[in-house]
């Protein structure tokens, strides 16, 4: 493997890690969101490298595009850029970091101590994971999950609309006016 490829992978990996760290440490939620976009794009590139162009593009359009827009929109709407970084829960931060470190160490150790190391990823043919292939699979074997997902999305949409609909101070519906409460100007 030549050094250029390694470098590219190294930079990508570093981007992923750094943007993730940036996401959780930045004071401003807006910055977090932007870090996340960077992260998504970097991961999308990795998808491309793994021979999954459809997923990569979906990643960029759905995640980096629409979902992040939604995030930023809500951040702006609620004015929630100001972030509270202090920790009122005693021991939460220390214990959290400790556990995460252990977790990570364990996973890494696990890979290192494996008796049968994983092979390198074989060369990927061009036709693998082409949109056509994915489409075939999606509408044959995974038809039912696909439809269910569609339904979930629909339900989520309806739910989101219902939740965020503004219910102002009860406005009497026209026609169903209670007689004992006179309407005042």
């Amino acid at each position: 493997m030549d050094i250029g490829v390694l470098l590219v992978y190294g930079i990508l990996g570093l981007t992923v890690i750094v943007s993730a760290v940036g996401l959780i440490v930045s004071r401003n939620a807006l910055y977090s969101a932007l870090f996340l976009v960077v992260n998504f794009v970097a991961v999308g590139l990795l998808y491309l490298a793994l021979g999954a162009p459809f997923i990569a593009f979906a990643q960029v359009t759905v995640y980096a595009g629409s979902i992040m827009v939604l995030f930023i929109f809500v951040i702006m709407l609620l004015g929630a850029e100001n972030l509270m970084l202090d920790e009122p829960l005693r021991g939460q931060r220390a214990l959290g970091i400790l556990l995460v470190v252990i977790f990570l160490a364990e996973i890494v150790l696990y890979y290192l101590l494996r008796t049968t190391p994983l092979q390198a990823i074989p060369a990927i043919p061009q036709t693998f994971a082409s949109p056509a292939e994915i489409g075939m699979l999606l509408f044959n074997r995974y038809l039912l999950p696909f439809e269910v997902t569609a339904f979930i999305l629909l339900a989520a949409t309806v739910g989101a609309i219902l939740l965020s609909k503004h219910e102002g101070p009860t406005r009497p519906k026209p026609g169903i006016q209670k007689p004992e409460t006179p309407v005042e100007g």
Binding site: L89, Q92, L95, L99, V100, I102, F103, E106, Y110
Partner: protein
């Protein structure tokens, strides 16, 4: 009279009074006092009539018989029938109960008429007669019982009536509650005795296989030979019952307090009949007692000790009825001594004569009290009211009396007869019956004889004291001065009783011994009664001496004023104080039995029950609660905390996977 034809009448001795109760309960309100009194008296009288018929029947058939009536209780091998035992002993008791009872019923018509008005509750007239009839019924069940269970039924039944009648004026007495407390005391003390009787009954059943008198007494010698300890236990437990019902040491304490009941009640229940039930029981169970000498001795000594002890207390009392009450206890002691010695006939003889003269004395005392109340009300009405507050005046206090001989002559004369009979002056009835007991004691138990003679002396002494204080001297209160003779309905029964008290000695007159011949058919191992001239003369001399000394102390120089101390108070000093305070026995019991029990109960109720037991229960609850209280902190509501916990779980799972 043919015995077979009268025998089926036996249940009516119980059911006439029961009928009286029902009639009075149903119709009493409409009949008025006269009707109520007549129905109740008729019920008792008819009961007496049946008893007379039974007695006449028995004359030709003295062995007696049992009239089967009802299978009362049958569980497994335990069978108890309600049968009526008609033999000379039970019929003698029936005659006394119904005879004296009828007279007292009649007397009560007049007495209660005044009493309910004096106490301001005319509505209770009916209640009194219902209770009185109930008493006769229960007493009849007791004496006609053919087994120990039915005897116990009657035994407790009369105890109930005693309770009801002592507490008849339940809102009166010291502090408004003394009468009720006296009633309670009587019931509870009796219950202690009943406990003994119950245990005796259980022992009898398991060692004789039956409670029927016939079966038990027939087997007594065999069982006694095989299990002497058991018979001793039976007789001693039975004695506990006797001491309760017949007011013997150590359970006599209820009887003086029982004088809180209306006077006819004191006469009927607490002098003539109920309290003699214990004597009857021992007489009836002679077959058992004569198997163990030790038990006999114990009974005898209990009786003798009581006879002397109560007589001493009687000397120091001021309440006219209290004197009679202690006198009753003392006389019951004589009877118990007699039956304990095996001289059951003498004991029964004294029981009968005592019923006559003590009923007479109580009714006479009642008449005196009526006169005093009358005088008191009279004085109050005329405004010359010097004794102080109305409620403070005690019409039963002998210190307030005096000189009633002139105001109430008839009462005085009959009272005198009763008192002399009690003192044992020949030829009145008490002389003969007491003498028979003394004669028997002198032969076998000289020590007992001495004690009884001393008691007889004291008896004569307090009789003289009472007579002097009540009837002689000058009136010491306005009430006494204004006292008047009681109406005929009161005095007629007095006269009848006086006659009986005077001539009752004929029943077992030394030459004829009718009673002995009558009773020997139903009493076990009757000892022939003896007349010992020396003993008779000594006892007569002792009685006369007692009377004389009493007269010298109290009669020669009568009390002038109600507040004047007793002439004996100075010479006897502390001793008289002890007599006045009844040797502090009540206080002793209070300190030794009542208080500790209350303290124990309080200890169990508060620290033990609420503290330990319930505390343990609530402690378990609280433990759970506090545990949950500390554990709920984990569920703090912070999502991030939960997430951390999840992470912890993840780490643990991964650790497991890695280390596997």
């Amino acid at each position: 009279m043919n015995f077979e034809t009268v025998l089926p009448l036996a249940p009516w001795v119980v059911f006439f009074p029961v009928l009286g109760i029902l009639l009075n309960l149903l119709l009493g309100k409409r009949l008025g006092e006269k009707g109520i009194g007549i129905i109740a008296s008729l019920a008792a009288g008819l009961s007496f009539g049946v008893a007379v018929l039974l007695a006449l029947g028995l004359a030709g058939h003295p062995e007696g018989a049992t009239y089967p009536f009802l299978r009362w209780l049958a569980v497994g091998d335990f069978v108890a029938d309600w049968n009526f035992r008609v033999d000379t002993l039970s019929v003698t008791m029936m005659l006394v109960v119904a005879g004296v009872g009828s007279l007292i019923h009649i007397y009560s018509i007049g007495y209660m008429h005044a009493d309910v008005r004096h106490n301001g509750e005319p509505g209770r007239f009916r209640r009194f007669f219902v209770f009185l009839n109930l008493f006769v019924a229960a007493m009849m069940i007791l004496v006609s019982a053919d087994n120990f269970l039915m005897l116990f039924v009657g035994w407790e039944g009369v105890g109930l009536c005693s309770y009801l009648l002592i507490g008849f004026w339940f809102e009166k007495g010291a502090g408004g509650i003394a009468n009720a407390q006296a009633a309670k005391k009587a019931f509870v003390v009796n219950r202690i005795g009943d406990f003994g009787l119950l245990i005796a009954i259980f022992l009898i059943f398991y060692n004789f296989g039956s409670l029927d008198f016939e079966t038990v007494f027939a087997q007594a010698p065999q069982v006694a030979a095989a299990l002497p300890g058991v018979i001793l236990a039976i007789t001693l437990f039975m004695l506990l019952g006797v001491t309760g019902k017949s007011a013997q040491l150590p359970l006599y304490v209820w009887l003086p307090d029982a004088m809180a009941g209306p006077t006819p009640v004191s006469a009927l229940i607490h002098a003539a009949t109920m309290v003699t039930a214990g004597v009857y029981l021992v007489a009836r169970s002679q077959a058992l007692y004569q198997q163990v000498v030790l038990a006999q001795d114990v009974v005898m000594w209990v009786g003798a000790a009581t006879a002397f002890f109560a007589a001493t207390i009687a000397v120091g009392q001021y309440d006219i009825k209290k004197v009679l009450a202690y006198s009753t206890i003392s006389q019951l002691g004589f009877m118990v001594t007699a039956v304990g010695m095996g001289a059951a006939v003498a004991g029964m003889f004294h029981l009968v004569t005592h019923a006559f003269f003590k009923a007479l004395l109580f009714l006479g005392a009642g008449s005196v009290i009526l006169g005093m109340e009358h005088g008191h009300e009279h004085a109050a009405a005329h405004g010359s009211h010097t004794e102080g507050h109305h409620s403070a005046f005690d019409p039963q206090d002998m210190r307030n009396m005096g000189g009633l001989r002139e105001k109430m002559p008839l009462t005085f004369w009959v009272y005198l007869i009763g008192a002399l009979a009690l003192a044992g002056i020949a030829p009145l009835s008490g002389f003969f019956s007491k003498d028979e007991i003394l004669a028997d004691a002198s032969l076998h138990h000289p020590a007992v004889y001495l004690v009884l003679t001393a008691a007889a002396f004291l008896t004569a002494f307090y009789v003289a004291r009472q007579l002097a204080m009540v009837f002689f001297g000058k009136p010491r209160s306005e009430a006494a001065a204004g006292a008047a003779e009681s109406p005929a309905v009161v005095t007629v029964p007095l006269v009848i009783l006086a006659v009986l008290a005077a001539v009752g000695g004929l029943l077992n007159f030394p030459t004829t011994h009718w009673l002995e011949k009558w009773l020997e058919h139903s009493l076990y191992g009757v000892e022939p009664a003896r007349f010992i001239l020396s003993v008779a003369l000594i006892s007569l001399a002792v009685a006369l001496t007692g009377l004389l000394i009493g007269w010298l102390v109290y009669g020669r120089k009568p009390l002038e004023d109600a507040r004047q101390p007793d002439p004996l108070a100075r010479p006897l000093n502390g001793l008289f104080l002890a007599l006045e305070h009844k040797w502090w026995v009540d206080e002793l019991y209070q300190a030794v039995v009542v208080k500790p029990y209350l303290r124990l109960a309080q200890f169990l109720a508060q620290p033990v029950d609420q503290g330990v037991i319930d505390g343990l229960v609530n402690g378990v609850g609280n433990l759970l609660r506090s545990t949950a209280q500390s554990w709920r902190r984990i569920q703090n509501g912070y999502v991030r905390s939960y997430a951390l916990t999840i992470l912890l779980g993840v780490v643990l799972v991964v650790t497991y996977l890695v280390l596997r």
